[in-house]
Symmetry: C2
Subunit: 210 residues, 2 copies
Amino acid sequence: MSKPEGVSISVIKRLPRYYRFLGELKEQGMIRISSKDLSAKMGFTASQIRQDLNCFGGFGQQGYGYNIESLYEEIGRILGVDKTRNAILIGAGNLGRAVALHMSFEKRGFNIIGIFDKNAALSGQMIRGLPIRHTDGLYDFCKENTPVVAVLCIPSAAAKDLTPELVKLGIKGYWNFSHYDIASDFPDVAVENVHLSDSLMTLSYKISNF
Amino acid sequence: MSKPEGVSISVIKRLPRYYRFLGELKEQGMIRISSKDLSAKMGFTASQIRQDLNCFGGFGQQGYGYNIESLYEEIGRILGVDKTRNAILIGAGNLGRAVALHMSFEKRGFNIIGIFDKNAALSGQMIRGLPIRHTDGLYDFCKENTPVVAVLCIPSAAAKDLTPELVKLGIKGYWNFSHYDIASDFPDVAVENVHLSDSLMTLSYKISNF
């Protein structure tokens, strides 16, 4: 597939879903699938699927469909999950612990190499084989280990205080669970927000208006 | 504001963000704000903001702007967060515990009344003042307490097995952390998905293509 120049964000947002579905089909031992069958499984129309995958140069063949393994690997490459980027996780409260323990970072192209919390009482406790470090040690740790991604599981005010330093330390990607708007203050870094309370309010709206 | 008939999902998706920002301004003791100042804070254009809020009958007055408290309360009503809906949380692993402890459900219109897990070893442990119950007791609990929302912090296969029963028991809203596609099998319930691994892959893409 070609490099995805100018592909719309809505296509990009659908890629992880393709990747997940194709991964499941691969695990079930399937070799190929038509866009029609893929559409039935995924809830997109067959034409939508053909259009989406054409953005990346396509992989389908008339009368054959898609080779599942090739397409899975190609989408993985486009998503960049075949890479390994060193990441730190900041905030080892309930949310940070759950994120650290629950997520398969390695399968998504990330390697958690350090966990930090400003609460000194937590220092030294182990999460997924890593000791919780005090945030005072962040500077030295980053200088030595050059992580490029930060997972922020801290409140907005703390995220706002810390981010300028993280940017200076070379952190280029942020998985941001706080409400602090990193992208607005630092347009030159990559940010993906998880706004759980917004999602809960959207559910509230849907229930009210269903 | 009028009832939001036919308001597009993209406007709806922005409402929680308005609600958050207005809540912060309210806490800071501000009384009113122009669409221009609101746009500077939120990163939407002023015209976007006027257009969005017009969908609900508007609240702005020429030369005055928006009354923060009125707008906050009105958006809260539209989102339905002024209501209280009884909810159960299913899955008391790392993720379920974090969601239970981290989220301000009450502020978003939900009241968690029961926490369930199929692991009997967890039964009786307390989370936010509630005992973890075995999923065997789900039927009786729902019959007696009639919750209308379920927060699913369980794997896809378990979610797929359990959802038909939950739908039969009258659960109308699902905050779904699993990858099981509830909306496709049950189009008559309200579903809001949180796909954390998709978000992480989107971050991977953004870093690769920034």
